[in-house]
Amino acid sequence: MNDAVATWLYAVAPTAGTSVPAGLKGVAGEPVRVVEGAGLSAVVGSVPLSDFGEEELRAHLEDLPWLEAAVRAHHWVIDNAARSGCVVPLRFATMYRDDARIRSLLDERRADFDSVLDLLAGRTEWGVKAYVDPQAFVPDSPGDRTGGHSSPGTAYLLRRKEQQRGRETAHVRATECAEAIHAALAELAVRTAEHPPQDARLAEYEGWMVLNNSYLVPDPRVEEFAAAVASLEQRFPEIRLELSGPWPAYSFTAISDSGQDSGQEGESRAQ
């Protein structure tokens, strides 16, 4: 029987009457539409419960090609909705029984959405990742003095110990550079958020990822922010920086009373 649908919520825009590009399709390939309420617009789509019911969705999430397509579709809709102005992106897989429930959500949470929209207006999220080759931070070794009087076993252990110490020192040094980079970038942002370092194989890099942060940057300072990234890369030649964006402000949407926070958000100084 299962042709029942739920309403998948992508984003909320600050005014009624927001439009989305004609033909825009969502996570289920469904047409994306707008539901209005409380002076806000919700960007939504109807998705079949046969694929998006709790159990079905849970199974799909373990299936990487499915997950990738759905995550990209969710992002695609939000990115398109954001072209016509500031929107609040919703967490992936936020669904309601029907449009009426969406309207009551807009009603009940109007103040929350307004405060997030206030924070995001005229600002954009940018991502910065920093990679290091640990070798570049390992202190020069005093030379290989493994001959001497030590037995081969002792020499081996000493060498291992020295390597271990070198690695720790490298880690401390790399972390200090990452902190300096973050501090310089935070000066230009109104908020910052930390993401955990990505797995090396999944993200396809070598060495260490010492920074994986998001910055909420006022639009007039975007050029300055990009220039800062470039000049920091010159100041720390042993660190490779990667700028990504503009992102819909996924990392800066904590609604005060939900008790949920997106990463560790921090206040910054810029206006």
């Binding site: 990487l64 995550v71 797995d199």
Partner: protein, 99 residues
């Protein structure tokens, strides 16, 4: 125009070059899936929906990470893999733990 493009159907482009241009830089290349997952599964406004009753955010992240890990492992095995193809991804050198 924009809306006619297929969703998620493009061949992923893994540019090695860092994005430099600040304006609409994402348009020029496909967003990395890992970057999307960082943001989509742990970010965005959280409101309590009706349908996906209790896929808590932490579960969402864990579940999808399992999918990622499993798929990488499959690729490794299919491609002849490495010695540690079946090993845990947590222990790779790329991990950097902020205290």
């Amino acid at each position: 125009m924009l809306s006619e493009e297929p969703i998620g159907g493009d061949e992923p482009v893994r540019g090695d070059e860092p994005v430099r241009r600040p304006s609409r830089a994402l348009e020029s290349r496909q967003v990395a899936l890992v970057d999307l997952l960082d943001r989509l599964l742990a970010g965005g406004v959280v409101v309590t929906g009706d349908v996906t009753l209790c896929i808590a955010d932490i579960d969402l992240v864990r579940i999808s990470l399992r999918a990622l890990v499993a798929s990488v492992r499959e690729e490794w095995i299919a491609g002849g893999g490495g010695r540690d193809a079946g090993g845990t991804l947590q222990g790779t050198g790329g991990r950097y733990d902020r205290q």
